[in-house]
Homo-oligomer: 447 residues x 3
Amino acid sequence: AQIDKMNRDFSSNENAFFLCSMALIIFLMQCGFAFLEAGAVRSKNTTNILIKNLLDSCIAIIGYWAIGYAFGFGKTQNSTVDLFIGSSNFFLSGFNDYPKFFFQYVFAATSATIVSGAVAERCEFATYITYCSVISSIVYPILTHWGWASGGWMKQGIKTGDINTTYLDFAGAGVVHLCGGTISFLAAWMMGPRIGRFQKEGEDPSPEIKGHSVPFAALGGFILMFGFLAFNGGSMADIVQPGEGNIVALAMVNTILCGAFAALTYLLWHYFTHGKWTLLLTINACLAGMVSSCAGCNRMEPWGSVFVGIGSGLIYLALSKIMLRYKIDDPLDAFAVHAGGGGWGLISTCIISHDGIAYGIGDAMAGKGNDRIAQTFAQLGWQLVCLSAIVIWSLLWMGPIFWFLKKINRFRVTVEVETKGLDIYKHGEAAYPLHAYGHGWDDFEQI
Amino acid sequence: AQIDKMNRDFSSNENAFFLCSMALIIFLMQCGFAFLEAGAVRSKNTTNILIKNLLDSCIAIIGYWAIGYAFGFGKTQNSTVDLFIGSSNFFLSGFNDYPKFFFQYVFAATSATIVSGAVAERCEFATYITYCSVISSIVYPILTHWGWASGGWMKQGIKTGDINTTYLDFAGAGVVHLCGGTISFLAAWMMGPRIGRFQKEGEDPSPEIKGHSVPFAALGGFILMFGFLAFNGGSMADIVQPGEGNIVALAMVNTILCGAFAALTYLLWHYFTHGKWTLLLTINACLAGMVSSCAGCNRMEPWGSVFVGIGSGLIYLALSKIMLRYKIDDPLDAFAVHAGGGGWGLISTCIISHDGIAYGIGDAMAGKGNDRIAQTFAQLGWQLVCLSAIVIWSLLWMGPIFWFLKKINRFRVTVEVETKGLDIYKHGEAAYPLHAYGHGWDDFEQI
Amino acid sequence: AQIDKMNRDFSSNENAFFLCSMALIIFLMQCGFAFLEAGAVRSKNTTNILIKNLLDSCIAIIGYWAIGYAFGFGKTQNSTVDLFIGSSNFFLSGFNDYPKFFFQYVFAATSATIVSGAVAERCEFATYITYCSVISSIVYPILTHWGWASGGWMKQGIKTGDINTTYLDFAGAGVVHLCGGTISFLAAWMMGPRIGRFQKEGEDPSPEIKGHSVPFAALGGFILMFGFLAFNGGSMADIVQPGEGNIVALAMVNTILCGAFAALTYLLWHYFTHGKWTLLLTINACLAGMVSSCAGCNRMEPWGSVFVGIGSGLIYLALSKIMLRYKIDDPLDAFAVHAGGGGWGLISTCIISHDGIAYGIGDAMAGKGNDRIAQTFAQLGWQLVCLSAIVIWSLLWMGPIFWFLKKINRFRVTVEVETKGLDIYKHGEAAYPLHAYGHGWDDFEQI
């Protein structure tokens, strides 16, 4: 009895400590997104993008505390309702599993923050506040209920005879990144490109709109890589059962491997086609690789990361080209990174992870029979159903909202504000006030 | 026996791990303060403010190792002396609880670093070294003895009949932030405003002196938010007894909630009065909210954070206005953030935390009798005594020191140095040397 | 039995958690190096230095996964071979101790990243990729086998009669920093100084080449200090046996103490000779102090850090002067910081750590006999053998490789590229594109 009690106390404290420390680092990803995006916009819109990322954390904690967690993980008596939504613990009433709440909150904040890159340099503040609130309090939480709560319909999957499917998404490739990436696409498409981004027919090609600070973008990239390791490792959410610590480390190793293979794939492709070693796009490719590892980093041998990583580098490449072809202006490639990486993660985990299609085919080729092949393809099928559901759900919510905001003229800033920059007009704060520079030491030779 | 030994070994290792990892993150708050302040000064004083924050860590570790820890937590035989000061373990002799020392050190370093913002752009280096040493080695450690060591007089409180008071300050709203904020006020007031900050009578209003980099200020803000979560969660200092992990997470949740409510309160007020969405002041308000959560984040339901957070946003607003009204130039609002947030935290925890006035009144209204009301108001009274003691102690130490430094003309830099900037004259290092910029690729179209 | 099982499960999970969380923070040191170096180069070479630091992580994970870990810690049957190299677990086959692998990987990545500072602003990308791959996959892993694997020859040491020596290097002062620092020296020397760095005979003295951003250098320095605490504390690699948690904290305390004493030593020397409070060199000295603590921070009383820290400050000073005297251009002082700090760490730990020469002499002076003196000097002798072996091994590998790269003209960029900057020519990405700056709000008075 003493042992059991000690085991119980130890386990709950250990998990609390684990969740809190990983959540802390994931929280810092807000800083990472802020600087990745700040570096990628022009100096005249820097304050604007920074405040958006700051407020993500603030709005998300309030929304997720009030209703988000309840929708996501609140207990529901009726099992049919429970397939779709949680319905208790609003304002955390009757609730005290704070480590879980805190961990889930930092994920909710992440899902909202992805979108700000896609609408950078032209989005109205009202629109931002609206989508941020809706995503972190409603859209994302309900998706997590579907995919991660024990009663959710995606999690339940189909169980019939030899077939036993579920939603495979360890760390949110689907519910976080595909959701955020899909909404990014929708927002970038409905908002239209930045002024001057694409030439009209017959015009000379417009010069690319470059961001104002490569170092800031790199800073954001480094912090996001740091954060992703905690994001994926921490998704274990438990580190007391035998072998769990090992899985946490495996998840981290696969995360960095996927990122590395995606980054090098893109870098080499770019070098051989353009003759330049691009930093900014390599960072994006690396992040796409890490996103794609979210789905299966806990159930994949490190060699599987070669496949997942290279694949995500290529998908990032393809999607970012397609966006340009169709003149959809996504300044941060949020769609290509998060929807591309996330979608590929959901699919590839059905192929290369333990019990995936590759293992099924391997068994068949080794003469161990075809039994697992049906199961593995059924799993892939179910995963595609879930993938589609995530995309449709995201579009169904945000489409009308964006349409309405456009209707009431609160979707995009005016031409004058966009041309002259949002910082001074909207925030009264230039990122680099001219008066604050310079000094008077003319007599020092070297300054 | 085997169980007990295992429990003991486990507990001490687990707590060591917990303290060290939280202390690591708190250590990074030095970086946060450095960039919050660097962004808020002009480019000509950037190196100066960065080196101050770097040296905080260095000076504090030496001072806290030599005498600070001994004053704070060294054992003292005489219980009367023990009410006021610790007196053993100088240079950590006869001591080996390193996790506790390391954790306490990062707090000491924080208390010293708050002040540098208030005296930015005009403080002599000698003054800085003096106050940093004195605060981290003497002023702050003795306050922690009063409030946190088992024999300290504030901790002991008053115990008589039904009344049982103590000093309620989980993570240092009083001993860290109110102390640092009070000294900030004193320093900013004694030093006088920066040249050009306030117009003289009859002159045209001076333009505001803006900082040179909003992104750096935001970077600092993000890192400080990250650090505050560890600051408040880590203050549990123990994570092996039943329920402690939950409290750690609760503290973090309350911290971010308080920050969010304070930030949004200020942001909305500013928007409705000025029509701008200010980033820099919202960061400050958010930090004030987090400071105010320090006192009771472990004993407060999340809904209590609404009260504490909104209150601290308003108090930050009020105090920063008052400073302007009286023409006291505190470039970082260190007083409003840390003294305002800290003081409000000490008071509000007596109101809204478990066993606070709100609960006492609630009992009375529910017809459960008035017994607790006396206790809760007595607690508030004692808390106000402690609050006053912290303020007076801080002023009594630093007042004469600053006066003396002023007397010997080592308090503030000369007018020429202030006008032309401290970086080149004092440090020989311009933050952005002109020679280091530019390139020669004229033939590339887009650079 | 239940107890034993629980103890086993707990221990492995606890260690996994500890290793992963420390490794995470060490991973962020890549960001620290990136910004320390980015701040120290001119704006025209900023993208170049950032991508190098990004790719360090990517190349190292692939190389270390494929062969590095196998060379370092793979099991080897033949004990003679085992003295020199590991030879199994290539591609982590037959391996599942992921926490250990992840932790070792972040160290390997660190060893490679040190060099990029020494060859900044002139190194060909091909050279960078080559040395990064070779160091992280071959040179460094084999050194760790020698020094840290149970069968390695340095670890085995000499055991004869009363003499019992081994390689004392807790966290890699030798195998990480001395190795990286030695290669830095070799690379800087073979590559020659940057154009304009040193005047030719008879010419006027060249102005110093300054870095473009003191704040970035400081940001890197802060992050590296943060990382070093995890680097040294995490090297315990185990936190379940009695007292281990305490040692982790002791290692962290000694790390910050050594850094502080080195920083203040250098700062005061610089102030008294130059009259300026230098930030950049103080950061370097602080890092040198932290490097020197790597060797013995777990076995040293805090007062020993006074000796180790001050010594490393002086050695950094001496080596950086010597490099200038011989006109070897190491823009980041990577040699002085890492080889100087690392070498001094290896030596000083034989003097001041537990069972070191100081203790031996102390015993003798206290009349307890001279027995330990022979042992302590023998240990120093063996340590010097190991130190030499690390230097020679590093030079033997990289000398021919650099010579070959020079031979095929892939060692250093052309004069035109160096003069005009690497960013645009090599990467197509200016760090601060001119078009991205400015705004059009002429009518706002204060911007």
